[in-house]
Amino acid sequence: MKRKLMAVILAAGLAVSMAGCSGGAPAPSGSSDGGEAAENVSEEENSGRVETDIKVSDKEIEAAAETMEDWEKEFAADYELKGDEEFTWGFIDMGFEDTFSTKIRNTFTSYCEKYFPNVEVLEADGELDSNIQLQLAENFIAQGVDCIVIIPQDADGCTGIVDTCMAEGVPLVCLNSVIHSEHLEKEIGFVGSSNYEAGKLQAEWLIENVDDSESVKMCYQKGSDGYDHTAQRYNGLFETLDKAGYNYELKATLISEYMRDVAMTNAEDWVTSFGDEIQVIGCCNDESAMGTLQAYQAAGLAENVKILGIDANQDCLKEVKEGKISCSVFQNAMGQAKWGAVSAYDACAKGKKETASFSIPFETVDAENVEEYLD
């Protein structure tokens, strides 16, 4: 009896804790900026801010199939941006805890709801593990989905997914990051931006804006080791600087793992090692840039250092606007999600096994044009 009672209490406790921790992702009803009291910020502003961090705005979704950027116009001539045929797609995210891939996933599903209303999108969490992504792909194939869309965790680790999909004859769209496969951009569509390009844009901003008549002292917050995108962003930055003959000295490189907490610890240690000597810190993503900024702000040295990010997340863009972060590189989540959906629909509607590739350009965001990207 006692055991039964305990079991009931336990189950109730779990239910209560789960209820407390669920219910979607409600927007915080207040946001305090620069230390101001949270209640000072209006409800409307807050819901906008939270929505846009992991999802592009409803307004953009509504306009997505109607208005075209210049680079989209030539794609739009050959592909349908809307359709009402019934299909089921499996969407394998890189990991639900990754902010940017979550943003692409949310945008993808929102676009499909609006413009491909009869497509059912099944979402799966790749848990930042290529092997789990492979298992999910196998499960989707067993379920008989019409197409698989994946944001691959790793360029090499995910090659098995290409082989599996090709062997089973299921169309595959590779979103955001590449997979190292001879079939990519042939049978397997790649919809995304080159990570090398992101690093290159950081370098170009630096060359244009920071005088190198004396050697520029730099540090770099590198992404997790062993991943293609990490290497590409790093190489894009430093190879471009080298090619341009930019006069710099790389004083230190540490791994931030794309995480704010790790980046902050790294930057604190650089403050100790180099004091105010460092002029530029290149970062693999905006989270690392934010961690770097916080460490330098705490040391009172934020004015001395130029911080370069990638992703153009909203909280980072606010710092770009205030001049605390020098630049970020806009990854067009809307473009990737939209053209990913178009590629998948095109293959399904035409009964093809091959999917189309679309190159989505990166864009540099700095103080001059940041307003265009802020919601």
């Binding site: 336990l10 009803s29 207040g30 305090s32 101001e36 902010t99 979550t102 995480m259 907490d261």
Partner: protein, 322 residues
């Protein structure tokens, strides 16, 4: 070192036992200070203290669990869950007190849940906390959808970033937690009961100790520590990050092990754990200052754990021979 060679292995164990990790810490501190001139600067010492706060607070929870012969694998995910919800609460209400309370309550629920599952159903703590780790991770991801909550306000930021005089405020929190944990372990009946339960559960039960309550208390306390660590970390980052602090519990457990607490339970002191935590802190800091990458740092810390465990075994052998 020469002395220990002359006297043989067992004597080295005894020396280690007597002077413990204080000697190791001191040695490392001197070597690092000589090696890198930045290491001993006031700013760097403050950095090290700030950087070890989260791990040390978690280690206090882990220590109680390990003394009782248990382990808490859910700590880092409970930290992320409670810390992120606390960040959410401060944005939603603008009230610091509510935010802290939310974080602590959520963490306590997870800790208490671990405790109840372990004592009621006799589930190994390893399994029970592994399960709640997944629950905590899934719950916070469901709640946030992977979203970070940023700009938490000056009051909340003070917890992790503030200073009182030259000393970072989180260091005071850490010191307070260490004192409380020390008091519990050294001066209260429940503290003594934990050593008894971890040392020999059957004997503890026979001597009238409430084993179930003792284990429940340790688990609930560990949960609470994860909550406090979560609030401090999110405040430090000025952002509620559901994916932060990945595998921090391993660093906390490492601190406890390096501090000489036996994984089989029944032994260990908070003073040694703080030294263990400081050893990890100065090693990581030193390697960052030397620009040694994260992968290599893991190799070094792994070897350190191995050495600590080997020394622990040597000490116990020398005791049983003596």
């Amino acid at each position: 070192m020469t002395k220990s060679k002359e006297n043989g292995k067992i004597n080295f164990g005894e020396i280690y036992n007597k002077f413990g990790i204080f000697l190791v810490f001191l040695l490392m501190f001197i070597i690092f200070s000589v090696w890198n001139k930045s290491f001993l600067s006031g700013m760097n010492v403050r950095n090290i203290l700030r950087q070890i706060v989260v791990i040390t607070i978690m280690a206090c929870g882990e220590q109680l669990m390990i003394i009782c012969g248990m382990i808490d694998l859910s700590a880092s995910r409970v930290l992320a869950c409670a810390g992120t919800l606390s960040a959410y609460a401060v944005l939603a209400t603008g009230n610091l007190f509510v935010a802290i309370l939310v974080g602590l309550i959520v963490a306590f629920i997870f800790g208490a849940f671990n405790g109840i599952v372990i004592v009621t159903f006799d589930i190994p703590p390893f399994i029970a906390t592994l399960a709640s780790m997944m629950v905590a991770e899934g719950a916070i991801m469901t709640f946030t959808g992977g979203q970070n909550y940023s700009n938490l306000g000056a009051a909340f930021q003070f917890i992790g970033q503030g200073y009182i005089g030259p000393i970072p405020f989180p260091v005071f929190i850490m010191a307070f937690i260490l004192l409380v944990t020390y008091y519990i372990l050294s001066w209260t009946p429940i503290g003594r009961a934990m050593y008894a339960v971890g040392g020999n559960t059957a004997a503890a039960r026979a001597s009238g100790i409430n084993v179930k309550f003792t284990k429940f208390f340790a688990a609930a306390y560990a949960g609470l520590m994860s909550g406090i660590a979560g609030i401090v970390l999110m405040s430090r980052m000025n952002s509620g990050q559901p994916a932060a602090a990945v595998s921090y519990e391993m660093d906390a457990i490492t601190a406890v092990i390096i501090g000489g607490t036996s994984m089989s339970g029944g032994t260990g002191t908070v003073v040694n754990t703080i030294v263990g935590s400081m050893i990890i802190g100065i090693i990581k800091n030193f390697m960052n200052l030397q620009n040694i990458n994260a992968s290599m740092q893991k190799v070094v810390l792994g070897l350190l754990v191995m050495i600590a465990v080997i020394l622990d075994i040597q000490v116990r052998k020398s005791r049983s021979k003596g």
